[in-house]
Amino acid sequence: MPDFAEAVQALRPQLLRFAHAQLRNDAWAEDAVSETMVAALAKPQAFAGQSQLKTWLVGILKHKLIDQIRRHSREVSATTEEDREDIDALLFDETGTWREAPAEWGDPEAALGRREFFEVLEVCVDELPGVQGRIFMMRAWLELETDEICKELNITATNAWVLLHRARLRLQACLQERWFGRQPAAV
């Protein structure tokens, strides 16, 4: 089935981008994508057109990414300067009060019904720095539980919560800046 192989190959760059966003390591991302291609091309009958080709491939890729994370579980948790940045100190004063109150985002469906919103959200997730980006993706995209993430990244639960907390704050700040802050005022 040469058409099938071509179609699979055509999606390689996208898969590589996803793999890199999750692993933040060129060699591991290449490995995960290669394994995905091999698995997909070995079993074209498993696809059987029951879903979109991309959805099917991403499903395989996710398993390969989890394999990679497990394989390298001892090497991956060095936090960066950005991970250590205390976002809360920027948002709150010494008494723990908001320096600037959060904005009203309005009717959720107004945003969630729009494709452009998800494009912005995607950019915001991709830009999450360091280990917090990886952890957030493991949680929100690979749908791993927190205790599994701690085990694979060899970090404490407290550490994971701090990083997830910072990732979520960054994400909300990013959406405020790039989406909600640019919409007509909420009611």
């Binding site: 996803f18 009203e104 494709r115 998800f118």
Partner: protein, 80 residues
């Protein structure tokens, strides 16, 4: 030892008192683990008297709804 009802009320308030920073932390922690009952009451008490934190909490709720749809969008190549 506090005996009066007002005194007990005060003690009760102190016990549940959290600032915005602490409440924000609990609200976000609630996305990843189940909060204890003291934590839940403390959040509830704070949200009743704070103008800013309920907005933050609504932002978190929107994110909770958005993330599964983002996953579907990302994985399928752009369908919302």
């Amino acid at each position: 030892m506090v005996r009066s009802a007002a005194g007990r009320g005060l003690k009760y308030m102190k016990f549940l008192q959290r600032n915005c920073r602490q409440v924000t932390e609990l609200v976000l922690a609630g996305e990843d683990r189940r909060l204890g009952w003291v934590e839940r009451w403390a959040v509830r008490a704070h949200l009743k008297v704070c103008k800013a934190c309920p907005r933050f909490t609504r932002q978190v709720a929107l994110m909770r709804r958005a993330l599964p749809r983002w996953r579907a969008y990302r994985d399928s190549g752009g369908d919302v």
